[in-house]
């Protein structure tokens, strides 16, 4: 008689599962044997079991309940070990949760509005798509997308004669309609705002709470901002903080067409039903072609339109300054999680070691390997579930702690970050928990597999022990790597804190201004500077086109014929160098202008670059002419060389830069007024603003801040990274120390009998203590030996964060290794002490 096909039977077992599969296979076998149906028939029948597999009413895998109830019972019997495992996991998961929420709001999260997946941003690379007049010309003709326009301003808002700094979005009147926004109070403005006599404004929930104490009487209040008067019509929902993250918008103001000379407008749109990203892109391309024809020579229009789904802050922008940091954080938190998993696997292994007799007996009574594996997995899942629950608890805690502990994050920037736990984060957490459960169920299950019954039943097995030691070594190596990386970053942060920007920034306040018309430079600004000097307590004042952090660019070359290179540029008052204590190392500062003899001052690096080995004084520098629509090609005589300084960031590479005199160069309407004060410069903010508002009637005010703040802001990233990594490194060490402790303690427990015999034969307590301690140190030594090359390979990735510190900094490497040895001694000390307390009689009766 022929046998049914084995493979088909296996398929059947896979599809049906458990004892049910046994019954079905039996039925088929019976029919197969009696009716003599062919193998093909058998295959067809086996395949038909797909119906059973995917039935909604499929019976649960038989016995799964038992697995879990057994796992729970085991955990109840040894709550200490279960709690340790869950805590290890929860700590790692909690931190990972926080980091994930951070990454999520940076990279993935959409706007908190209805159907957020239909919302797109339309830009030209990273630039604004159009200007306001252009926007008003095309907005009603779009088919594939409803588009709203928005611009962001920083300005002080004045309510009841008090002013405070705000981030303001000026938006098209359809903004709320496009985004389907609701309010917490009052209502959003619509198209009627374009013609209404009184302009409405909507303020953020945060502003409402912090400035108006959540008072409903805020509606109808009049506010002054961006040089105009508005009446508050509504308060936005708490979760909505604007469309220009990471900035959090405080107020939204409607823009009236045509808004001439109003600068660039960022587009945010909602795709029409049935429209796709590709469709919108195509329409924007056609639109751009039309705009190019209407505005020939407009540089911004050369870049192609980019349409993408609105998500996160850095989505798709790989060159974003956040990107390296994001990668680093991801890698580090993954490592912490891995250490935690190894830890729990270690714990499970030691449990398995304790249970080996029970397991061996069950195996010899016919329990299958699959069954034992399922039990370990069930135990892992229960532990992981506990870890996830605790992790959520820790996660919300660490999120808050992180928000508090992160130093010097510039206020406006991170209000947009949300570190709370939402469904994505919960999903991530659950997923991570599942993966952990699998990861740490595997080693004990594999250990089960290789067991030979004889020695196990007698209660001796050395295998686990090896395996657990290997795990501990891995933990030590991994956490050493983290420790070294943390040490490096802390040292780098310390270094960065002492970086010299090359100019004096204490007691200095600046206000960024813009005046309409080319003659403003000659008329408005010198007048303002003079008045500022007259404010009581102001020691000096100056004007500059750009203040730190500056991005002003120009072009320069040594001769008219050579191709110009892009450099930095600034337009400054003659007293600027004295004001900021930037020494002129050669030549002199700007003199009073004489017609036909323009002057320029270069920094040391530019002098070296344009005239290497020569004296730059008296040479002609050729500037401008490298931008479409930029300043025309012109020459100037170099009258001085200024010492190098930092211009855009404290940690930047040295930049090339030239200065021209404000008395000769009209600039483009933007100037910053800087004052030096006798005391804390913040006390002069009010008087400076009043001066500017009173005397410069048509000025637009962009930003008021102390120079000290600007410099500190440029360092926050460094400090932030270092403190975050320090926290993670600490966590990794705690986890790894628990690991070493666990291994040593367990080995002591297992060697109780041996230790008892030794003591009975006259071993001194000190000998026994040393034996145990040496075991811990041996693990650590091997871990460090493996960890050092691993670290050397890993820290090379940190090069970009180190500000000139060598990644192989011997201080960081040796300090981390020594710290680890100390930690290992501590972790082994307690088990060692306990070992000597073993009473020989008890030990010999053990088992």
């Amino acid at each position: 008689m022929s046998e049914p096909p084995k493979l088909a039977e296996r398929l059947l077992r896979f599809l049906v599962g458990g004892r049910d599969a046994d019954a079905v296979a039996g039925d088929l076998r019976e029919t197969f044997d009696t009716s003599g149906a062919g193998r093909l028939w058998y295959w067809g029948q086996a395949l038909s079991c797909l119906a059973v597999r995917f039935s909604l009413y499929r019976r649960a895998i038989p016995g799964i309940g038992t697995d879990f109830s057994r796992a729970l019972r085991r955990i109840r019997r040894n709550p200490g070990y279960a709690l340790t495992a869950m805590l290890c996991l929860a700590l790692a998961l909690g931190v990972n949760t926080t980091l994930f929420s951070f990454l999520d709001s940076l990279c993935f999260r959409g706007l908190p509005v209805a159907q957020a997946d239909r919302v797109v941003q339309i830009r030209r690379h990273d630039l604004a798509f159009s200007t306001w007049p252009e926007y008003f010309s095309f907005r009603d003709n779009l088919r594939s997308v409803e588009a709203a326009a928005t611009s962001l301003y920083f300005d002080s808002m004045e309510v009841d004669r008090t002013g405070f700094e705000t981030d303001v979005e000026t938006v098209s009147s359809n903004y709320a309609h496009v985004l389907r926004l609701g309010t917490a109070l009052g209502r959003w403005f619509g198209r009627e705002a374009e013609t209404a006599a009184e302009r409405p404004a909507v303020i953020s929930y945060r502003l409402w709470q912090t400035r108006f104490a959540g008072n409903a009487a805020v509606l109808g209040k009049s506010v002054r901002v961006l040089g105009g008067s508005y009446r508050i019509a509504g308060v936005a929902r708490p979760e909505f903080s604007g469309t220009v993250p990471p900035f959090a918008t405080d107020a939204w103001l409607p823009v009236r067409p045509p808004r001439l000379g109003g600068g660039s407008a960022y587009l945010i749109g909602r795709m029409a039903p049935g429209a796709s990203i590709a469709g919108v892109t195509a329409e924007m391309r056609v639109l751009t072609a039309g705009l190019r024809a209407a505005h020939p020579g407009e540089e911004i229009l050369a870049a192609p339109a980019v349409v993408r789904r609105y998500a996160g802050i850095v989505a798709d922008e790989r060159h974003s300054p956040f990107f390296p940091m994001v990668t680093l954080l991801g890698a580090v938190s993954g490592m912490v999680l891995l250490i935690a998993c190894v830890n729990v696997a270690n714990l499970l292994l030691s449990r398995a070691a304790v249970r080996q007799r029970e397991i061996a007996i069950r195996q010899s009574l016919g329990a299958s390997r699959a069954r034992l594996f399922r039990e370990t997995l069930a135990e892992g899942l229960v532990l992981a579930a506990g870890g996830v629950l605790l992790g959520v608890f820790f996660g919300s805690g660490t999120g808050r702690a992180l928000e508090l502990a992160l130093p010097s994050i510039p206020d406006p920037i991170w209000h947009g970050l949300r570190l709370g736990i939402d469904w994505r984060v919960a999903l991530f957490l659950a997923g991570a928990g599942m993966v952990c459960a699998l990861l740490f169920s595997l080693p004990p299950a594999l250990a089960n597999r290789e067991r030979t019954l004889g020695p196990s039943m007698k209660g001796q097995a050395a295998r686990h022990f090896r395996q657990r030691e290997i795990f501990s070594v891995a933990q030590v190596a991994l956490s050493l790597t983290l420790l070294i990386a943390t040490g490096l970053l802390l040292r780098a942060a310390d270094r960065a804190r002492h970086l010299d920007p090359g100019f004096a920034y204490d007691h200095r306040l600046f206000v960024n201004l813009w005046a309409h018309g080319k003659d403003a430079n000659a008329l408005v600004f010198p007048e303002l500077k003079q008045r500022a000097r007259e404010i009581p307590g102001v020691q000096d004042a100056t004007l500059a086109w750009e203040v730190f952090p500056a991005s002003g660019a120009g072009c320069a070359a040594a001769t008219r014929q050579t191709e110009k290179k892009q450099v930095r540029a600034n337009i400054v008052d003659p007293n600027y160098f004295d004001f900021l204590r930037i020494p002129i190392v050669k030549g002199h500062g700007f003199l009073a202008p004489s017609p036909g003899a323009p002057q320029a001052i270069v920094n040391q690096s530019l002098a070296q670059d344009l005239w290497p080995g020569e004296d730059p004084l008296g040479k002609t520098i050729w500037m401008g002419g490298c931008y479409i629509g930029g300043a025309a090609d012109k020459g100037a005589t170099v009258v001085g060389v200024a010492r190098d300084a930092k211009y855009d960031a404290v940690n930047e590479e040295q930049q090339l830069l030239y200065y021209t005199s404000r008395e000769e160069d009209p600039g483009n309407g933007y100037f910053s007024l800087l004052i030096r004060t006798a005391g804390d410069p913040r006390q002069w903010t009010r008087s400076l603003l009043e001066l500017v508002q009173r005397d410069g009637r048509d000025l637009r005010i962009y930003d008021v801040d102390t120079m000290e703040n600007s410099v500190a802001r440029s360092l926050w990233e460094v400090k932030w990274q270092a403190s975050l990594l320090a926290a993670l490194g600490l966590l990794a060490i705690v986890l790894a120390a628990i690991g070493v402790y666990g291994v040593v303690a367990c080995s002591v427990a297992q060697r109780t009998r041996e230790i008892g015999v030794r003591m009975a034969l006259g071993a001194l307590p000190l000998d026994v203590q040393w034996m145990v301690l040496a075991h811990g140190l041996r693990i650590t030594a091997i871990g460090i030996a493996l960890g050092l090359p691993l670290s050397a390979a890993a820290v090379r990735l940190l090069r970009g964060f180190l500000y000139g510190l060598s990644p192989f900094d011997p201080v960081a490497f040796s300090a981390a290794s020594l710290a680890w040895i100390a930690i290992a001694m501590l972790a082994s000390w307690y088990p060692a002490r306990r070992a000597t307390r073993v009473d020989p009689m008890t030990a010999l009766n053990y088992e």
């Binding site: 049910d20 019954a23 039925d27 395949l47 079991c49 797909l50 039935s55 009413y57 019976r59």
Partner: protein, 104 residues
């Protein structure tokens, strides 16, 4: 209470189990359906239906001890629960009322 609805195939399976009494396991159930209703049924379709009926509380199943026959595999036996009797007679009554006075 709303009458539990039974599909045609469910009715056939239930009736087969009822006819077989205490001999109702996979092989005879399929044979019964094949002989009386003239339908070929795959094991997959049958067990999916049986699992569903069990979930609905219509039948109860248990495993008999394995014997030397059929490769030592145990049999899964089925019996009707009171809910199934009620549902079957309900369905029958519905059809009888609908057929009353009709000839096709």
């Amino acid at each position: 209470m709303r009458q539990a609805y039974l599909g045609e195939f469910e009715q056939i399976v239930l009736l087969a189990i009822l006819r077989l009494g205490d001999k109702a396991y996979g092989v005879p159930i399929r044979a019964e359906i094949e002989n009386r209703a003239g339908r070929k049924v795959t094991v997959g379709a049958l067990y999916a239906t049986l699992d569903r009926l069990e979930a609905k509380g219509m039948v109860h199943s248990w495993f008999a001890d394995a014997t030397a026959q059929r490769g030592g595999r145990s049999k899964r036996y089925f019996k009707l629960l009171p809910a199934a009797q009620e549902a079957l007679s309900g369905s029958k009554a519905v059809f009888e009322r609908m057929w009353e006075g009709l000839h096709v």
